[in-house]
Symmetry: C2
Subunit: 210 residues, 2 copies
């Protein structure tokens, strides 16, 4: 929570007291992809100034959303990692992603792009398709790789390729967006050769059906 509060006895205002400031939710979006170093965060958040990033990270720590941890035992480098409370913001980011996806049609030349920024909306789209099946789906784009996790503790995602994916999707970012928007069914994309779907097992089968 910043030192400025809305001073309202309202759960929405309370939430915004903590994560309503500029850059806060985007930092959480980065940390949802896994532990990150300060420099990684600064690299993947073009435009954020170093002092604001440092200040937000302190706020996240103080409010119990993230912890600062040594990367290796007795090493000098630190990583920031979300606590369960911080990971609880995934539904908030998912709702924002759902609402914001229609505004994603035009890609402005000034826009930065990272592969895992597509993880949340794709997770939203695929979650109803997986049903009860659990596992990991690796996604390979030209711009980079990320993976989606479906397990009993709820959905999640991470940056980089998955270690042992139960299914693997290879597609372009544009195709990924079509799937996200619902204008392209996964099965149809596979049939048309625009999506490569690898893997066997119930999770891959469930994806191939839809």
């Amino acid at each position: 929570m910043p030192h400025r509060s809305y001073d309202q006895y309202c759960s929405v205002a309370r939430a915004l007291d903590v994560v309503g400031e500029r850059w806060a939710l985007l930092i959480v979006r980065e940390l949802l992809a896994g532990p990150r170093r300060y420099t990684d965060l600064h690299a993947d958040l073009p435009g954020v100034s170093t002092d604001v990033l440092a200040s937000r990270l302190k706020d996240l720590e103080r409010d119990g959303l993230a912890v600062r941890r040594r990367l290796t035992r007795s090493g000098a480098t630190y990583v920031y990692e979300l606590t369960p409370r911080g990971r609880g913001l995934l539904p908030v980011l998912a709702a924002l992603a759902d609402w914001g996806t229609p505004a994603l049609e035009e890609r402005r030349p000034t826009d930065a792009v990272r592969a895992h920024w597509l993880a949340i909306p794709l997770l939203q789209r695929l979650a109803p398709l997986t049903g009860p099946h659990t596992g990991t789906v690796g996604v390979q784009l030209d711009e980079g790789a990320f993976h989606l996790r479906f397990d009993e503790s709820g959905p999640g995602y991470g940056d980089g390729p998955a270690e042992q994916p139960d299914a693997r999707l290879t597609l372009s970012a544009a195709t990924c967006l079509e799937v996200t928007r619902g204008t392209l069914a996964l099965a149809r994309g596979v049939k048309e050769g625009r999506i490569e779907l690898d893997g066997s097992g119930p999770l891959a089968d469930a994806l191939a059906e839809r």
Copy 2:
């Protein structure tokens, strides 16, 4: 969208470009309760300055989230009303409310209170209970009244009493919060005399069961 953008090709960032600025989502929360005049908004949002409120309302209009409409035909007073796009932010506010409710335990002396600020979290709690039943639930607190709508177009809420509620709840704000948090079942509150539940029909029956 303010004149400052995150410049990221990401649906979350796009959403925050539009509604990420201070007060924006709280203005939307007010407008979700129904059309509001400028003065009403200013009265129910303690702390917002007049120019920021005017600026945010212009932004909401320009971005297609709200429209400015004459209250009466050929009258001098205007009201601001959400468009469908603006009402589409209810899931975002609901997710924020879910996440923020645990932080609502302590009520600080500086906190402002409005009855309908409890509408979103209560709506979230009651929505799974109503099942397929549609209708309106009037809620009467000491601090004021609001009502919840359950119909095929999705859940919603409004300020003030309902015209013809299918069910009516009378309870204290503290009791309402217990229900919201899930620490008090509706049926148990009724049995203990802390909640008065009036009304007949499937919606009232569905609420009485749980």
